[in-house]
């Protein structure tokens, strides 16, 4: 039985990170995520762990990746403008197959935008923000318990797949104070792997779909980690066959293991004729709207995506077999709705409830959209 507390969303994420084993935080303050850094600056030193405020977001993610390579579990938190700055190093983490967790508490954009208002407008950026072919894992909690559990899951996924993981949040769930039962530490499962043994410095050698046997620095192997494309030793190469193989290995490391990565929640879906696809703050309004609609006899259900990337394509396709009306609810000018449209066949009626003015949808507004369907 855990402890019941009233906590701010940002603090819930920070607490969960420490429970997941986070022992290094490097960050730069930015509204609406600064509370994560402030909490970490107080709590990490108490445990003898590392906290440093760097000179900008680029330096923050750089320090996190460096610490991760030196054996720590690193976290940084930011919002839109900082997330844009972090893209280059996100690519470095993908290329080097380095675990790191990045929280993006989304606010109105683009550019400086609306620092104190929510949006869900960085969804596509989370997938494609950095250049080059790269897979990415992004998760997005909506309710307070999910902020806790998804943060733990993000750390576990990043350790399991040697990849950066993005935790998307929005200004509403990040800043809202809600009551939550913090689980007992014994109830939390932290992914850990026994130490790899690497022969002949083959730190990236593996079969398709597997993880590399990569080790951290200072483990007795004089390894080389590079942002340049590299061979199985990590040494730079431009050999076409080697390059193509590495690209495939990095992609399939994620895409061959979707069962471990995709997570979602379903509400009232068994006999639904209309499906709402949503996430984050919009999912909360949508759930209330679905409950109100059901009271009025409308057969509508909610599919709440917890894993945003990779996109739950297979899961949606399954539901499209019997549900032919989909409403995507998101606080932007249309981002995830394009993914839904891409996955839906021609006989599916896909619509979207969109808004990008910094005001979250009320349940009544979502209910109105359901009724208009």
């Amino acid at each position: 039985m855990g402890k019941r507390e009233v906590l701010q969303g940002n603090i819930i994420a920070a607490k969960a990170a420490i429970a997941a084993g986070c022992n290094f935080y490097a960050g730069y303050p930015i509204t609406p995520s600064s509370e994560v850094a402030q909490y970490m600056s107080r709590e990490l030193p108490k445990l003898g762990y590392d906290f440093i405020q760097m000179e900008d977001e680029i330096a923050s993610l750089g320090a996190c990746i460096g610490a991760s390579l030196a054996g720590k579990k690193s976290l940084t938190a930011t919002s839109g403008p900082g997330f844009s700055l972090m893209q280059e190093h996100l690519g470095m983490a993908v290329m080097g197959e380095i675990p790191v967790v990045i929280i993006n508490v989304m606010r109105g954009g683009p550019s400086t935008g609306l620092p104190t208002k929510p949006s869900q407008a960085d969804m596509m950026q989370a997938r494609w923000g950095t250049h080059g072919d790269h897979p990415i894992i992004a998760v997005y909690p909506a309710f307070s318990e999910e902020i806790y559990s998804e943060t733990i899951r993000a750390f576990n996924l990043s350790e399991r797949f040697w990849t950066p993981v993005i935790i998307l949040m929005d200004e509403v769930i990040g800043k809202a104070h809600e009551d939550i039962e913090i689980p007992d530490l014994k109830e939390i499962s932290i992914y850990s792997e026994s130490d790899h043994v690497v022969e002949d410095l083959n730190i990236y050698d593996r079969e398709i779909g597997e993880n590399p046997p990569r080790v951290d620095f200072f483990k007795g192997y004089a390894i080389h980690i590079d942002g340049l494309e590299h061979d199985k030793h990590g040494w730079p190469t431009t050999e076409p066959d080697v390059v193509q193989k590495m690209q495939t290995l990095r992609m399939q490391k994620i895409y061959n293991n979707l069962d471990e990565i995709i997570k979602y929640k379903e509400f009232y879906m068994d006999d639904a004729e209309i499906m709402i696809f949503s996430f984050g703050v919009s999912a909360r309004s949508s759930l209330a709207a679905v409950q109100m609609a059901r009271e009025q006899g409308i057969k509508v259900g909610l599919f709440q995506a917890l894993t945003i990337w990779p996109f739950p394509k297979r899961e949606l396709k399954e539901r499209f077999k019997r549900i032919k009306k989909i409403l995507t609810v998101e606080m932007n000018m249309g981002q995830m709705k394009y993914e839904v449209e891409r996955v839906a066949s021609d006989d599916i009626d896909t619509r979207a409830l969109l808004r990008a003015n910094g005001i979250p949808f009320t349940p009544q507004e979502v209910l109105k959209a359901i009724k208009e369907f």
């Binding site: 107080r42 030193p45 108490k46 590392d50 440093i52 680029i58 330096a59 460096g66 590079d226």
Partner: protein, 281 residues
């Protein structure tokens, strides 16, 4: 076997640099410094950014990391804070240290984080084909200053002293043994240390400015270095063409960043934790 060869990763040889490039000399000097200090290769990490200097870690038989342009110091900061007992070396060139990376440079210096930096000053962006850098002498011709460079160059060592770096030295690739000596001293310094090495890029800078072979360019480099004492005696108008070499600034008493963190922050935090524990449960 020479004692310094233990720190060389021959499996990745030959090096990618042009014939006669000073980068090879610097590689040797650093390896010699490691050897004289009898450091364990597994306890060392060499981090670099992008450029010809950025290729250097590949050739060290230690932990090595090749990062993004200008940000090597940020990765190294994370590594040093995570593992304060390790030797963390950063190798940067003109752009990596003073253009895109300029901000990280002054903050690393200010923080006095125990990173050992080797700043290779060859006055050009060599890797990308010879564009002007913040260290290119005024009036020189480069690929992006075809009519002559109108910007004055940074005095890298002097800038670092102003940014509160606690150990600053300058040497040239023409003086291998003094270079090795000063690098060794910088490794023994506990705070942030920088060794600025004047190097030759005859292919990209020299060739466009009447010094197309390494021997001519090296003579030019050698002719401009003077001792600190001699430099003080020079009249101001001559100082433009010379630079002082040797250890230019050294503060032995300043606490290194991670020392300060573990001696001050962590105990204060643990104190605070004890006090609040008494209050709650």
């Amino acid at each position: 076997m020479r004692d310094y060869e233990r720190y060389i990763r021959y499996r990745t040889f030959p090096t990618p640099w042009c014939p006669g490039c000073g980068d090879g000399i610097i590689l040797k000097a650093i390896a010699m410094a490691f050897a004289e200090l009898e450091l364990d290769p597994n306890e060392i990490i060499v981090v670099s950014g992008i450029g010809c200097s950025g290729r250097m870690p590949t050739y060290f038989n230690t932990n090595t990391l090749h990062t993004t342009h200008g940000r090597a110091l940020t990765f190294a900061t994370g590594i040093k804070l995570a593992r304060p007992e390790k030797t963390v070396v950063v190798i940067s060139g003109d752009g990596d240290a003073l253009a895109i990376g300029g901000n990280h440079l002054i903050h690393a210096a200010r923080r006095n984080i125990g990173i050992k930096m080797i700043l290779i000053n060859n006055g050009i962006y060599g890797m990308t084909g010879g564009q002007v850098s913040p260290l290119t002498p005024q009036s020189f011709i480069t690929e992006t200053t075809p009519y002559g460079n109108i910007e004055p160059k940074f005095l890298a060592s002097e800038l670092l002293i102003a940014a509160k770096a606690s150990f600053v030295a300058r040497e040239t690739i023409m003086r291998l043994l003094p270079l090795k000596q000063v690098i060794k001293k910088s490794f023994q310094h506990s705070g942030f240390s920088v060794v600025e090495v004047i190097s030759n890029c005859h292919i990209n800078l020299g060739r466009r400015n009447k010094m197309k072979d390494p021997i001519t360019m090296n003579k030019w480099i050698a002719s401009r270095s003077v001792s600190k004492a001699e430099f003080e005696k020079l009249p101001p108008e001559e100082r433009n063409h010379k630079y002082p070499v040797g250890i230019l600034w050294e503060e032995k008493d300043r606490l290194e960043y991670s020392e300060l963190y573990y001696k001050h922050i962590v105990p204060s935090a643990k104190e605070a934790a004890k006090k609040s524990e008494g209050k709650h449960e």
